[in-house]
């Protein structure tokens, strides 16, 4: 739980002097130093973890060492500035986006109050424009004529340890949600800027353990939790008992690493591990059994999420490469992807480019409806919401939506599926089919305007709970609105990070609202062959009218 009690936090976010509450900062932003203290930073990566990554991707994660962000000596390599500047040069040469985003900002301020971290903290450097200026100022100093000639008059400043500290603080208070880029007249995408800055930080060995350790686990064991194959399988099989208890049906379809299956199903590993993800997993399995899908799950690629995305494009590519490799080895026809936000940013915008072409796969075709997923013709990977929405549209599912009548549901668009993919209507179509009580949050907080859970991109770690609760405030506030107005008691989503972080967020701000995956609600509503009379939902909460 967060360090600050919620009653206190409610006061603080409204009254504490900040840019959000109308206070005028006393100093110019470049004169304000980043001060690390317990609770405002993520723990640095362990030496052993960096050593592990260095074995396969040398030179990207810096020199393995123990270091303390609160100290004034981070044990950086002697030539760390040179490494950063060379790294920046290399990235300018590799990414047109970086050049454009460095040169074109006019500081109109349209982005300023669009960031959830700014809204929750009021910290000026959480305005996307200033977050980018942290990097832009260094770019101007060393890579532009105006900066070289005019220095600070042109908004330039040299790379110093003070700047590095700012980078580590504020590029880890950005969740790469891209909300600011929707409002920017030039489409400047802070996610892109943050990705570049984090790559640069990693080059000098400044990274966080909550990202690099899960990434190491994903590489070695197949999933970020570090579950070994037998444990992964046991965890998943254990959920069959729960499904049987809730529905009276013993599923026979769960299988692993099976060659010749039609579909390889890849989902975020948290869905076999922790509530409420496990209920989403039950929903997947019930759906597949219901339609008789010929699928398999791989323990080797048992993680949909890609923690490489939060570090460096090489690690993103390396982790992602498992998916096609495994699909090839198992000889499946196409890949189905579970509910996970940043997993889908990678699958939709990076996978084919990085690790394609997947010519050994076929253009995905639903074996039930015959629908060809033309929108996935090259990548050959389909989102479970697209797949399910198609089944519903063709009336292939037997449903009893009243089994979700004890829920009044709203839907949280995850940042990546909304702004990195355009997946907006599919989950809504599903929800409206499987629930009778569905209400949208206010329009400025959903679809392309959706607010981040506040803890994406590897920030969902326990040591920064206050920050997370502040960053998640805009989302929580919109949930509060529909909870008060419509009695919403269930916040659904299609993202595993959301399922973990919105849970904590709601326990803090909206304890009366639970969190679920969309597929869990599908699982509740599905009428299975040979089922018993349902008295509870998949999480053993009594159905409406069964409370007695």
């Amino acid at each position: 739980m967060a360090d600050t009690k919620v009653a206190q936090m409610k006061e603080k976010v409204v009254k504490e002097p900040s840019l959000m509450t109308g206070a005028v900062p006393a100093k110019d932003w470049w004169d304000v130093e980043a001060v690390f203290k317990p609770g405002n930073y993520c723990y640095p990566a362990k030496k052993s973890i960096v050593e592990y990554h260095n074995k396969s991707l040398p030179g990207i994660f810096g020199v393995p060492r123990e270091w303390d962000p609160e100290s004034d000596d981070w044990h950086l390599p002697e030539n760390w500035k040179e490494i950063i500047l060379n790294g920046l040069k290399e990235r300018l040469d590799k990414f047109r986006s970086l050049k454009i985003f460095m040169d074109c900002c006019v500081r109109c301020g349209a982005c300023a109050d669009k960031c959830h971290f700014f809204l929750g903290t009021g910290d000026p450097k959480n305005m996307p424009v200033l977050r980018a200026e942290l990097l832009r100022s260094v770019y101007r100093n060393d890579f532009t004529l105006a900066g070289k000639l005019l220095g600070q008059m042109a908004g330039a400043r040299p790379m110093t340890f003070k700047v590095l500290k700012e980078w580590f603080m504020y590029f880890y208070q950005c969740t790469e949600c891209r909300r600011c880029s929707v409002f920017c007249p030039y489409g400047i995408d802070t996610a892109e800027v943050t990705m570049m800055a984090r790559e640069l930080l990693h080059l000098v060995g400044v990274g966080t353990n909550w990202i690099l350790e899960p990434a190491a686990n994903s590489n070695r064991t197949g999933n970020h939790l570090g579950l070994q194959p037998h444990t992964f399988k046991e965890n998943a099989e254990f959920l069959l008992d729960d499904i049987e208890e809730a529905t009276g049906v013993r599923l026979q379809n769960l299988n692993f690493n099976r060659k010749g299956a039609e579909v390889l199903f890849i989902f975020p590993s948290a869905d076999v591990f922790a509530e409420p993800g496990i209920f989403t997993f039950m929903g997947y399995l019930l759906l597949f059994e219901h339609i008789g899908l010929d699928y398999t799950i791989s323990t080797y690629t048992s993680e949909g999420g890609n923690f490489g995305l939060f570090t460096h494009n090489s690690l993103m590519k390396k982790l992602n490469a498992k998916m096609y490799a495994e699909a090839d080895r198992l000889g499946v026809k196409w890949i189905l992807g579970g509910e996970c936000g940043h997993m889908w940013r990678v699958l939709h915008q990076y996978m084919d480019t990085m690790n394609g072409p997947a010519n050994f796969l076929e253009v995905p075709k639903s074996p039930i409806t015959g629908t060809v997923f033309a929108n996935a013709a090259s990548t050959k990977m389909v989102h479970i919401s697209e797949f399910t929405a198609d089944l519903l549209h063709h009336n292939k599912l037997k449903l009893d939506p009243s089994r979700n009548d004890h829920r009044t549901v709203t839907y949280h668009d995850s940042c990546n599926t909304a702004r990195g993919m355009g997946l907006l209507e599919e989950p809504r179509h599903i929800l409206k089919s499987v629930c009778n009580n569905f209400h949208e949050m206010p329009e400025n907080t959903i679809r392309e305007n959706t607010f981040c859970c506040g803890s994406g991109t590897g920030l969902n770690t326990g040591e920064i709970m206050d920050l997370r609760m502040r960053g998640g405030l805009p989302r929580a506030n919109a949930v509060r609105h529909v909870a008060d107005k419509h009695g919403v008691n269930m916040l659904s989503c299609v993202c595993a990070i959301d399922r973990a972080t919105l849970l904590a967020l709601n326990q803090y701000w909206n304890p009366d609202v639970e969190v679920c995956g969309v597929s869990e609600l599908v699982g509740n509503a599905l009428i299975m062959e040979g089922e018993k009379e349902r008295e509870t939902d998949l999480r053993f909460t009594p159905l409406a009218g069964m409370e007695g």
Partner: protein
């Protein structure tokens, strides 16, 4: 300092121009040599910057999707905010460039007791930005009357439309007033809104003051101070036909105006004003969201980066996998009979 220094810089430019207009040869310098130089720097600089941008590849297709994607045929796609075709992208870019689509989305967030966050409509920035840019465009096009003979029909039409209220002599152009009004709004917004003031740099005030200076000198020249319009037309036409001459007493204000315009042209390629070209090249806006349909190529994609292989994964966990009935590629090595018997005995 962030505001005063750029203001001083522009005033210095004005003084330099006033002095130059008085000294021998100064008028030729400001009226003939400088315009050619400034135009060359502007063109060369803009081309250089665009080529500099274009010399870096776009390794990944990263459109920001602002609406429903092309998906199942019965789901209505938002073809402009989430285009899946080239035509859609062209539409999206036209909206962006001509109507400032993204800025039109602007909202203003407020924190109230509760806490309660409220998002209100906020279209003023969009409105004044669009007024400023369109007036600037009309004014620049109107100036073509000086550089061309005969005056093109569209310029004449523009002038007629701009002065349709027929107020005063010479006829008052609405764009002049709206232009200065919009500039004043953009400036006042910068200094009155706390967070905008906080993010503003000298590089934000300098072009505002410079453009204001150009507008004010232009208006002074047209409506208040006498200048020799015939001589100006002769000079401008001469510049355009590469045979410039300065005749008669044009008036110092003209040279201040020209000097500031030249300063703007020279400053342009090295500044944020390059957003004019950059907006066309922004990957989050000008890319087609057909990521899973058509493979995008990254020229520096490194084929040497391979996944942790399945073989090494199985090697590490084979025993557990076999124990858990998970299929494997290679079976466990058969254990020697003696050892097995010993195990059984345990």
């Amino acid at each position: 300092m962030r505001i005063i220094n750029p203001l001083i810089a522009v005033l210095v430019l004005v003084v330099v121009a006033l002095v130059a207009a008085q000294v021998p040869g100064g008028q030729a310098l400001v009226g003939i040599i400088l315009p050619y130089l400034a135009f060359a720097v502007f063109l060369g600089g803009v081309v250089y910057r665009v080529v500099y941008w274009a010399s870096s590849p776009v390794p990944f297709r990263i459109p920001t999707t602002c609406g429903q994607a092309n998906s199942l045929p019965w789901i209505k796609q938002n073809k402009l905010d989430c285009p899946s075709t080239k035509a859609g992208v062209i539409g999206r870019m036209l909206l962006e460039v001509f109507l400032f689509r993204s800025l039109f989305r602007n909202t203003k967030a407020e924190m109230h007791e509760g806490p309660k966050l409220v998002y209100g409509s906020s279209k003023f920035l969009w409105l004044f930005a669009i007024l400023f840019h369109y007036c600037f465009l009309v004014i620049v096009l109107r100036h073509m009357r000086l550089f061309m003979d005969p005056i093109p029909a569209f310029v004449a039409a523009l002038e007629f439309g701009d002065g349709f209220m027929q107020i005063g002599t010479p006829v008052f152009y609405q764009t002049d007033a709206i232009f200065l009004g919009a500039l004043a709004f953009l400036f006042l917004r910068r200094i009155t809104l706390t967070n905008i003031r906080y993010i503003s740099l000298p590089a934000d005030y300098f072009p505002l003051f410079l453009i204001m200076g150009i507008g004010i000198t232009g208006i002074l020249m047209r409506y208040f101070l006498r200048v020799d319009v015939v001589a100006i037309k002769q000079l401008a036409l001469g510049l355009a036909t590469l045979s410039p001459t300065i005749t008669g007493q044009i008036g110092a204000i003209f040279f201040v105006h020209v000097f500031l315009v030249c300063a703007l042209l020279i400053y342009f390629p090295f500044s944020k004003l390059m957003h004019m070209a950059g907006v066309f090249m922004s990957p989050t806006r000008n890319m087609i969201n057909n990521n899973r349909m058509v493979r995008h190529i990254n020229p520096w994609n490194d084929p040497k980066i391979k996944p942790h292989s399945y073989a090494s994964y199985e090697d590490e966990f084979r025993e557990f996998m076999v124990g858990a009935d998970i299929p494997v590629e290679k079976e466990l090595p058969a254990q020697p009979a003696g050892e097995e018997a010993a195990k059984a005995a345990e």
